[in-house]
Amino acid sequence: MSTAAGGPAGGGIAPTQMIILGAVGGLAGIYLTMLNQAMDTTIFSFLGGIGAIFAAVWGADAVRRVCSYGLGTGVPSIGMVALGMGIVATMFGLTLPEVSGIPTIAGPIISFIVAAIIGLLIGLMSNKILMMNIPIMEKSMVEIAGAGALVMIGLSTAIAGSFDIVAIMPAVVETGFIALVFIGGAMTILHPFNACLGPDEKQDRTLGVAVSKGALIMALAGFASLAVESMDAMSGALTTIVGLVIWVVYFKRFMKHSHRDSYLVTGTGLLPTEEELE
């Protein structure tokens, strides 16, 4: 419907590299926040936000690959299903260690795997039962769901300072910030391609939007963590500042890319007044 129908999307960075970048970068960002516990501080929480940005870029790339086939329902639908699966998988993965006695460190990995399984199932059903016949649907759904789960864990970690469910429950869930994480995370994944689609869509421009979008949500996560008791104000402010700096850099780059990809950029001046028209 609203997508640029017709064939797979090409681009500078190959899908395999994107997967490695997103999965490794995302998980690394999330696990590096364990420095908080190691050094008894909360200052490293912003690394969770950085991890979320890596995952968002991966998710946005998967969305642009699958949506270039034309879903018929608009791009936002696939982002919302990603985060719908992501939230269920995230909470399951982070809670399982608490319930079953597995080490807490396994939480994000479990979430990631569960999200991938749900994604695979939804992808299979879309092709086999609903007959969407998009060749890369299963693979893309696995990627999008996995990226969705990582974005949510990353942002939650940035707010709570730890991916332990004992910290996330009071800081992210009970405060209601989970709604921000949910819809904001979905935006980072669905918005870039929705904003840039068309025959002139370029990978670097679309993924630049994903970075700037992720950075904006990261800045908001920093604000949110100011309201969390277990976090000191410096950590929240640092998350916000890092997010805003990344946003400024990538938004400028997006403007540059938009000018590069357009045929002509010209000022039209103000609208003519009624006297001038006569």
């Binding site: 609203s2 639908s77 939230i87 869930v173």
Partner: protein, 240 residues
Amino acid sequence: MIDIMTIILITLGGILIGVGVHFIPVGGAPAAMAQATGVGTGTVQLAAGAGLTGLISAGFMYNHLAISGTFTGLDYLMVVASGAVGSMIMITVTMFVGQLVYVYGVGVPPVSAKVKKDPITGDVQDLYVSRGTEGHGVPTVSFVSGTIGGLLGGLGGSMIYVQLMQIVGDPSNSGAVALAGIFATGVFYVNSVLASYNIGGTIEGFHDPKFKRVPKAIVSCLIASLLCAIIAVPIMGGVV
């Protein structure tokens, strides 16, 4: 530990959402330009808008009734009815205001291009379809269909929410409320997107030939919701 009945009811809620989406007259981008029958936005947005309103009204009713400590079968019915009515109000208001814009703003008569006569009022339809379009506005049959869609969606969403809340059984626990709410939202999105993939763009309501695809959506929503329910139930029991 895991209650089979809870899982069955959550799955049923998911199926109701998936079926409900098929009733909602979704016109997508063409309808935004008055070139297709229905409201001019995507399936997911419409279904989620109505569904989330249903969740809020169900949540309000649940909090009101369950805070006393007892939660009877009648209370259960009250909560899901409240959710259904909330969704119906949301979707009918959306359709009605959209209708005002189509009729008085764009200047087109509400008409369906899929049937020759409106199955409810019997009014002639095909004469009024503008050339080059697939109908416009929200004709009576689509309006009624959309209201049924809101009913089913709201019912399904609030069933999921109440079941999750009942696992904890403490409406004053804000963690449980937030978790149940966000889980219900997640399951809602998964099911409404699956349904919208089944529809593939636009649908006018239960009189649309695409409505015959419902069985496929029921199967997929059953599998997806079952998986979500199996995952959700232990978490609600374990975390709060």
